[in-house]
Symmetry: C2
């Protein structure tokens, strides 16, 4: 039960739970399910352990075998978990007791796991949406409900209070997010310095993990390291880098407190961009800078997204791949030919923070519902920003042959797309630039060590690396 992460002060966890109890209206028991080990190819061959983020937020402990609850009626806060037997000590070594570990996060009441079901019997139990099958199985037995009931009967009021609390990051959380972003920045710099023609994508994907692991932290998601940047969720690493290719790397590290970093850089395998690469890169970079300049409390992230889209279209019109009025093109959705996804997302203990709660409660609210249109339906965050929110800004241009073909056949966007020119460059690939920001009282601040993002600065690094 050695804890696998750094802990904040005992007080931090106690205060978070106190605030939660103050904000929750109602009675019954708030249930916090801890994650168990995840089996790879047989029961005892495990993936690296990662605790549930809400459990981490309120109870801090990053090891398996735990669940916790807050009793809204009695005020009790309990961690359920078992101490090691002598047999387990032989295999795992001596470990601090449950009592000692729980005390570090301000919990003085620990009980054996087997006592949990009886505690919850005849009580109103509130839980958050489950995203691991182990939790479905466990809750079905714990609460004597069917799968379908377990899947559907999560507590919306519980979600709303936790989502509001976790969304606004405290100073110590921001330090941790800054640490994650700095390691992430280091990962990207390392790739820009090491990539060269003839290398395999997986050699660079290995380097991503290595930079994190050598600092005893994990990666926050499986990296994208690809010369096919137009494939948005691409975890294939089998290609060889060649002169003329653009390499897109989307990767992030976790901090020692398990907060996420998430950045993307796109750079030429050659020492410099080609003419068209530089033109389109600069378009994405202008969109990136425009969105960052507009980041401030009160602004809707949806409006930032639309601003970034307009700047992308303005640039694409200059290059000649699009035509017509940018404002009209965005209104018609023509930009989704190149930018099929969203400008960014919330970030915290999860790289897509609290995504398991549902975007309706995290990225949107009662005032603003998510659009179902192609493009906007992939915008994870739309609502107005508040100081303490941490968000990514990640515009891009993705030239997807299948999408061009589909739209052309349907006759879509004929007023806005220069199909002959676009088809000539159908194999262009993809570009994305992504950084992480915290919303401040009057604007926003970059997280982590600043990293080159202009085409000139990228080329300087590449030229130095390849000389």
């Amino acid at each position: 039960m050695e804890n696998k992460n750094q802990l904040f002060s005992t007080e931090t966890y106690s205060k978070r739970r106190s605030l939660l109890k103050k904000k929750i209206i109602g009675s019954g028991v708030l249930l916090f399910l801890g994650n168990q080990e995840s089996s790879i190819n047989f029961k005892d061959n495990w993936y690296p352990y990662r605790q549930d983020s809400t459990f981490l937020y309120y109870f801090g402990l990053n090891f398996p075998g735990l669940h916790a609850l807050i009793d809204l009626d009695s005020g009790e806060e309990i961690i359920f978990g078992d101490d090691l037997t002598i047999d387990e000590i032989v295999w795992k070594g001596p470990q601090p007791s449950m009592t000692a570990m729980s005390a570090k996060v301000g919990i003085l009441d620990t009980r054996p796991l087997e006592k949990m079901k009886a505690y919850l019997s005849q009580r109103e139990v509130h839980y958050l949406p489950v995203y691991r099958p182990e939790h479905v199985v466990f809750l079905t037995s714990l609460l004597d409900r069917s799968y379908t009931e377990v899947d559907l009967e999560y507590s919306v009021s519980f979600i709303k209070v936790v989502a509001a609390q976790r969304a606004v990051k405290s100073p110590e959380e921001l330090l941790s997010l800054n640490e994650a972003a700095s390691i992430t920045s280091q990962i990207h710099l390392s790739l820009m310095q090491q990539a060269k023609a003839g290398m395999k994508e997986y050699e660079l994907a290995s380097r991503v993990r290595q930079v994190a692991h050598e600092q005893n932290v994990n990666i926050s998601f499986q990296p994208i390291v690809t010369i096919d940047g137009q494939i948005l969720h691409n975890h294939y690493y089998g290609n060889t880098l060649s002169g003329g290719d653009l390499l897109l790397c989307d990767a992030g590290a976790e901090s020692s407190h398990l907060y996420a970093g998430d950045m993307t850089r796109t750079f030429p395998v050659d020492p410099a961009f080609s003419t068209l690469q530089k033109e389109l890169y600069d378009v994405v970079h202008r969109s990136h800078l425009a969105a960052i300049a507009a980041l401030k409390p009160g602004i809707k992230f949806l409006d930032l997204h639309l601003l970034a889209c307009r700047v992308l279209v303005e640039g694409l019109v200059e290059v000649g791949i699009m035509k017509g009025q940018p404002q009209d093109a965005v209104a018609a959705g023509a930009h989704t030919m190149f930018f099929q996804c969203g400008l960014g997302h919330m970030m915290g203990l999860d790289v897509h923070d609290m995504e398991n709660f549902g975007e309706a409660y995290v990225g949107y609210d009662d005032q603003l519902k998510k659009s179902t249109a192609f493009g906007l339906k992939s915008l994870r965050l739309g609502k107005a920003l508040t100081p303490g929110y941490v968000v990514t800004i990640e515009p891009g241009i993705y030239v997807i042959p299948e999408l061009i073909k589909q739209h052309k056949e349907k006759g879509s966007y004929n007023d806005f797309i220069n199909y002959p020119l676009l088809e000539k460059h159908a194999d262009f690939g993809g570009i994305r630039i992504e950084d992480d920001f915290v919303i401040t009282t009057d604007g926003a601040q970059l997280l982590g060590t600043p990293l080159a993002s202009s085409s000139d600065d990228i080329e300087s690094i590449r030229k130095a690396a390849l000389s």
Copy 2:
């Protein structure tokens, strides 16, 4: 649906299925559950994907979203899975069709996943023990059974036939196991060359992964890299290496066909072992060599284990930490003070091959049941060996303070343990030496590039590395 591994020839998979059909007695449907993505901290943040090993063995395809069956009555062989929609192509890129991928493993009948439940309705369905909660949830719905039923109603006759078939490795499997062992050997050599005082364990654990990832293969299990080698299952990497420490590294790579390697080396952080370290290391090495020399078809692995134990005790008597007749000490179980686990295990597509089937069917048989005694109950393999079996040989000496204390208090093994001397060295740590072997027609052959294992050879590598 890009396949994430190398495939054998189409014929290989067809032949494996034909043989299975020939050996199975009975009617109904054999069900092969494919693994799905495993969520880390929210649904769509995934661990690296790994297919189920039995699915891989008969159906080869290493991507999620698949299940397969063999109909014993009609002879049909079907893979159930869905092609990508255009929306999915935007996110994942174009992929070969289900039909094209399935044809590569000799399956000409592919059907949408939604057709599976109807196919199985009113049929006798045979499945293997489930080890992932996702399969419990899926089977409960597919077969309209409760969890408990799903957990208990696996087919023992299906297990026995698959276990017998997978246990004996074919020439192409042995090539792949050899590749895994060679990369594994490279990992260990790299650690012996790079370790030095002042480094953190996690820096070397990172190096384990790096050697594998740079060759586009994965690790076969989370590595043990520790100066506390006496802790048998230790995944803590936070210690700093110091002069005088022994570093134990137990790590393995997967081959490009997803077969496992698994080796252990223990070496001094200094250029040379201390006197006691060398004495005890040589005891383990003698036990290792004795077991290897006795490896041949027909011998019970249980007898090899007991031989290795006797050689360990002989050495410990020479050193003075044990006393009395070695044969008597082993009969009394006194060696379990130092060697609490088993001499080795089967290896194949799983590092503990087919462990999810249960040791009763993989490591033991109707003639030989597993002992429940401390020590022997951790021996995963006991039965007689057959040509084509792949096994590890991994004796060790582990000095566990809690165990010494417990046995001394109980007055155990007073005739065999020199408690005063042992207590003086209670902080000694642990030593293990592990290699991988295939049983041949008249003996056994080492898998992978041979790697130094004698104390002299280890010291040569360390001296060269540190000079």
